[in-house]
Symmetry: D2
Subunit: 366 residues, 4 copies
């Protein structure tokens, strides 16, 4: 298919229109042939200039990586320390912004769902605080592992730049990266002095409005995107979110029944797409993961950087159903057993109790 033809153009427009519904925005969406990391960089080079100050919160590994990207472009990052066991602490951000009488912070940058720890930050709470303070910083949010799985309301939460990618909640192979962009962010773009070409919003948004691109787009993935968006909208976003909630609850019920410890300490911040779990002290999470991979051909997420070998991560996002979850948790329970890791049995039963509560009124058809 000719990516400069009208047929492809209409597919692009349809895909972008669908994405706006997923992102819950009426604004602009930039779509790149790139990984999600490209969209981190795009957010930065399109809105900031060398020497600008920004405020980030250390939610975990991915916030660290994003910080690194910013610093490589000469951005001065005030990186609020976190324990890796909570989301972004609004009070800590508020304290910094309150002190910033001259509005030196050009942006507050937060990871919505921190994949390395299984915590979800309260973006709307942060936005309300910023509005209360009247601080003009842009609010930039990485929703790579939340979009399409956990509630994200771009316009209502007044996010200025959102970062997302194709391979998580959108259920596609990796290779598409997105920015959703507020009017305020577009205004910042005009003043931003960092050099940019591939990531530049102006030409990209102007062309893609008509379904074209300044360079060869990821044709196959854009076809897939149209399907993925349609699947999510057919299921209905509220249903998608409650399905993930249901799976998050069941996974955490299993972890509790095993007497293992969740990385996320705050129940109001539990992630519904990934659950990070500590191996008991003295036991190697990576050995557990290897045992599970060898015996059950299932690959759990590793603990990243400072959580390396202490933590294993159970993903439950995208195209996922109750029985796949039960199979996953059965694999973990058998892996714990085979690895000789001390635990209580019956996590899988606790998950079943969560998914199919006994109190549920009995349905009998004859």
């Amino acid at each position: 298919m000719d990516h400069r033809g009208t047929e492809f153009a209409s597919i692009v427009k349809e895909s972008l229109e669908g994405m706006r519904k997923i992102v819950q925005t009426r604004g602009l969406i930039a779509m790149y042939p790139a990984s999600g990391s490209g969209a981190w960089e795009a957010a930065i080079v399109n809105t900031l200039s060398t020497g600008d100050r920004v405020l980030m919160f250390e939610t975990g590994h991915f916030s660290r990586l994003w910080r690194q990207v910013a610093e490589r472009f000469g951005i001065r990052v005030d990186y609020l320390p976190g324990t890796w066991r909570t989301g972004a602490v609004t009070a800590d951000i508020e304290a910094k912004l309150s002190d910033d009488k001259n509005y030196e912070y050009k942006a507050v940058m937060v990871v919505h769902n921190e994949t390395s720890t299984g915590t979800t930050s309260k973006i709307f709470e942060i936005r309300r605080m910023m509005n209360r303070l009247g601080h003009p910083a842009l609010l930039m949010v990485d929703s790579v592992s939340s979009l399409g799985s956990i509630e994200y309301r771009h316009d209502e939460w007044e996010v200025d730049v959102m970062i997302a990618s194709s391979q998580k909640g959108l259920m596609l192979p990796p290779g598409l990266a997105f920015n959703a962009i507020s009017e305020k962010a577009m205004a910042a773009n005009k003043a931003a002095k960092l050099p940019r070409s591939y990531w530049d919003w102006q030409e990209l948004l102007e062309l893609s409005r008509n379904g074209f691109f300044p360079y060869t787009p990821s044709i196959n993935l854009i076809f897939g995107l149209r399907e993925a968006v349609q699947m999510l909208l057919e299921e209905g976003l509220p249903n998608v979110f409650s399905r993930h909630q249901r799976h998050g609850n069941a996974t955490r019920a299993a972890v509790r029944a095993w007497d293992l410890e969740l990385v996320c300490e705050d129940p109001t911040e539990y992630s519904n797409t990934v659950t990070a779990v500590f191996a008991p002290a003295g036991h190697s999470a990576d050995a557990l993961r290897a045992t599970i991979l060898d015996n059950f051909d299932m690959s759990l997420g590793a603990g990243l950087s400072k959580l390396a070998n202490q933590v294993f991560r159970i993903g439950h996002l995208g195209h996922f159903n109750d029985l796949m979850l039960a199979g996953t948790l059965a694999g973990v329970e058998m892996g714990l057993r085979l690895s000789g890791i001390p635990h209580s049995e019956g996590g899988i039963m606790a998950a079943l109790d969560s998914l199919a509560p006994k109190s549920k009124p009995v349905v009998v058809r004859v």
Copy 2:
């Protein structure tokens, strides 16, 4: 691809060579573009004549259907009654053959793995009995739901005609049917008077020896067959069989833990590809199946003919692993719960105990 060209011919020959390894024969294999039922008919019309007598055992629904095929061709079937809770009873067959001093029975026809009841008949025991008696009847075996999953040794067991198809242990879509044929069956073929064309072995075997067919073959499925055979041989038949054994054991452990009753009464005849389970008296197996389909998008097998609505069937064959089994059993357990069917909880735990026994020496890597 041209099905009359040399490239396709070599794929056909390679596929048939692989099938011989799966079937454990050095003899001939006829491959039809058809369902398995076609191979039932082929076995009959190629070896028998109108008015011939044969002996069949009522293992369940599929033995009934095969009987019906035979009778439609004017074969006189002595159909030994069974309870649908055991495999073919060798002693019953022996009694009939012993009485048959004139060797009127031209064939003994048995279903190896009766999918409707989850029982596996002892083919080799039947063969040894026939040899002991010196009865010259052909031994014809339906291995549609056993081949490639449960041990089947064509040459060693001296089976004369085997019936199989593509969509079970061979993990392909339906559309290919097979006969494996002994020399004795080929001799019978020369004398057999039933009219035949599509199913006729002579022309088919002569052409397919060189990779050709008397009519357009199922090209796509034959490509798939080559792959499927290779997958099975790479895993190794003994490993394939013990994988199914392992899954059969775990499934039955779950059923026992639920305090439900297996259809198959004889532990030496348990099927390792399908487990049929009675719903408790007064409860509808079909309502349970509907609840599970609605809630978990999983389709269990129905009870067939005289077991209708009394039985549900759990398939565990083909490309299947521990975690898929655990997901399946979790779905059944939740379905029992949601349907208000009386049962003990923890079938899934019993399955885990079976799959990953606690006594297993602990493996720790650090």
Copy 3:
């Protein structure tokens, strides 16, 4: 997907409904997991009895094969000799039927489009003749290589049994075979005494009315059938037929320009799906085909039985467009050249003249 579930049943019904439109019938359609040859056999065993007499016309190789099937079932075939260069000769059939005062002929069996020679028989002319004579024989028609490409009107032409398959005009892999059946054929079915099971219409039609089958259907192909039928109906049958007409014309223009001889002698019987061409005397058609396969990776049809090595066949059916045809004819022209076969150059130009006539009013858009 469960082939006993309601979702699949509705796909089956939809596919059969579409097939009725393609076949241009309001009657019954039997769909088998089989090759087209199976549908030949089904037509015979469902309507005839051993010893019945039928009338067939020798249009070419495929009429011979069909005759062979009939004879294997003890049918007495009067096989009217043909030259393999025309369709069925209505007058010859008429002469036989006129003599048949006792209506001994139970069926007239004709191949609509004879793939081995590239001729199309005039089915409607035969039907009118039979009606004129008031002969009650069934009219059975093999439309394997015409259905979905060349006009075929089942009800209007009062065909009693049609034979078709998936891999030609329906553009699918091989593996589905069809009978379309008139009420008169259903009546004959009740009286027909040939034994049958797999091919038996009664149970198959009864179950498939509700979307089910007496044995495992070719699930994947039935999904494909639904798509294929939809593609044909979206293009519109008249457009599909005129597309093939256009390609048949262009191919014949090329053959004439090469000064080669068509097998089909009667321009009113030219096939629009396949063109059979004589190699000049003393030249091997198979050597030409081999040269073309080696040099251009294109496989032309071989001359079959008595035309072996004298004829090559150019297929132009199914999903085919002008440029694929041009590529095909270019391959033939280059093959003629490389094989040193005497011919005039420019067949490809003649085809272009046919496809895009110079007199066509010029379209200019600026």
Copy 4:
């Protein structure tokens, strides 16, 4: 598949090893999830600093776009004017470099195969000239539309940075971009001051040496890459190049026979992957393209920027064979006819003469 697992790592390493053979280098290859334009940017930001001077040659539209990228990063580009009808003129580059006594030019940047005009520049000639002058500038080459189709020898030609992508000669969907990097380029990288993160070679090369990536790679495309590379190496690079040569020759023979004018003026610079052709004065190339698209569902390349509406482009690269080319040229010839564009007939015959010369010794097999 887990992109942090060892199985994927070995696929990455295998793919990169294959790419080195295609690129004809023993050096480093950076592989990005991105379009080819990303690799233009990567070449610049990894080796240059704001204010650096570079020399580019105006071969056509794509050289213009690359220039634009460079200028967006503050590079001062001396853009040698070209006619868009030749490759890069070595003498013009030489004149500039000779004058550059202080070696201010940090890089010479050339498009190897200019897709907008169908010309191929003489990279090796440029390299020899640069060596003769002893000028230390890096030589950067865009081989997006030549790699894997037209001879490109990275090490022998001492190219410092090559730019390529997945969707042309590598026959994959778009989404992978590449740099091949000399040691001299790696040395320049250490000194280069442009900010960079996504495109940064250091981390990417360090990780991908072991089969990993600093961010989620395009998993699916990397699987495809392994296959594509294997296909090219199995055919053999010399055979691949001569196949494209053959198709380029035949296409140009057709254009000459039509009495149309090639954009490329120098026969030693004809592109073997794309042929750009002028519509006769007063005729719209876009109208011709629209007529061909409407009538034959074939999409020809448009004239770009200053050649808009004057030129149409015939692509003949990647997975392409003689008959596809013949079909393509037939489509053009019929399109010329239908559009009323003045031309001589018989381009397709000239192409056949080129592909299958009459003088070729006749092969007859009987």
